[in-house]
Symmetry: C2
Amino acid sequence: MSKSASRPFSPAVEDYLKVVYKLQQSGESVSTNALAKKMKTSAAAASKMFKALADMKLIEHTPYYGAKLTPAGEKVALEVIRHHRLLELYLHQALGYGWDEVDAEAEKLEHHISEEFEDRIDHLLDYPTLDPHGDPIPTRDGTIEPPRGTSLAHAEPGENVVVLRVQDHDPSVLRFLAEMGVQLKGHITILEKQPFNGPLTLRIAEKEVTLGRELAGHIFVESRETIEVGMGGAAWK
Amino acid sequence: MSKSASRPFSPAVEDYLKVVYKLQQSGESVSTNALAKKMKTSAAAASKMFKALADMKLIEHTPYYGAKLTPAGEKVALEVIRHHRLLELYLHQALGYGWDEVDAEAEKLEHHISEEFEDRIDHLLDYPTLDPHGDPIPTRDGTIEPPRGTSLAHAEPGENVVVLRVQDHDPSVLRFLAEMGVQLKGHITILEKQPFNGPLTLRIAEKEVTLGRELAGHIFVESRETIEVGMGGAAWK
DNA sequence: AACAATTTTTGAACTAGGTTAAATTATAAA
DNA sequence: TTTATAATTTAACCTAGTTCAAAAATTGTT
């Protein structure tokens, strides 16, 4: 009964809350500038929105310091993220979208689907917990699992890992990674790791590939076992 | 190549064009008042929008007289209607929405799906030509079949007809009709027709039901054959 | 033909979201 | 500790779409 039939929030408000949530995840309080950059808008606009969101009790804003979500704001953010990730999975599974295409479409639809729609695709997908990039899907009642895996950039030569999550929304990056053989649940063996933030040499699906440290940082993995590998560049550090 | 990548039109503009199209269908030029009523907005707003649409060359507007779509405007309107009707059918077929629920959801989504999405559901539905209410779905290139059937209100006792189209968006009306047994492709025999705009007595799926003239006017049918029926009220006119 | 009623248009004002430029506050450096 | 730089906020203005009230044009009725 208390279905919290809230959410007469505009797409703009929903979007801001979503990125505040994401920024808040990796750190503490969210700055005007960081928000503006993510929203591809001006700092002035972000500042105004901070005030508006604070008036709606969706964030707590300390001027010149930053903002953090209130419980109400976090609830809205998680609902939007739930919509987004459910949609991504649905587009992938039911409509055959590639994992590089789902984000953009979900981005537009997430603000416009009804709870009915959400429930129906949730049921059709058999109540999934992960989206096509391995990110956790918040539950209807606003809880969410912590993101899985540790960065591939921190893996050491000899490690044998499984890909749990790929943290990138850029379609061309995702296509590039897919072409290298990177996919969820796929296995990767770290062969070498060049020092000074250099690239990693990996074995992915029988093939040997090289991957820059930055991109590797967007791949999150879980260790399977550690095996001995040739010599390896681990000598430098 | 000339994919006419048009459509940087706002949802509001798309909606106005859609209802201009629909009003234009059953008559000539569209008045400010009629438009305002359908859009549930003020005449002032409709008047302003007329000017804006005329500036964009989407309608031709003769002040104090009315407006009609230009070819460009009609194209946009048909694209929106195509989105709407494809979505209705998709929601019905793929997600199990009832025919009373599809309109509201499609109404919100129609402005936000990509051409990609449109193509994918079109393909998944095997290039359908009719939506769940029997309305024709415009083709991608902007052509549309004329609406099918003649009004049940004009059918005469003794006629045996098939339901081709039901013209109503009100969920409760649609549920009511469904409860009476009215459905697309269903058979109806007209038993009696009371004069002075009175109700019709019908046989639908073995059951005898009575239906007001107004509601009957929203059901469009095709004659199957004419059979003799008791006496019938056809005596009065 | 004149006047009343209705429809349409215009004008002033509001909202949400955005911009750019200026003012303010915080932070880092000498 | 003062000063320079960077971040944030405020101010003034823009656009799309809305409202209400007033003005203008059209239509209908004697």
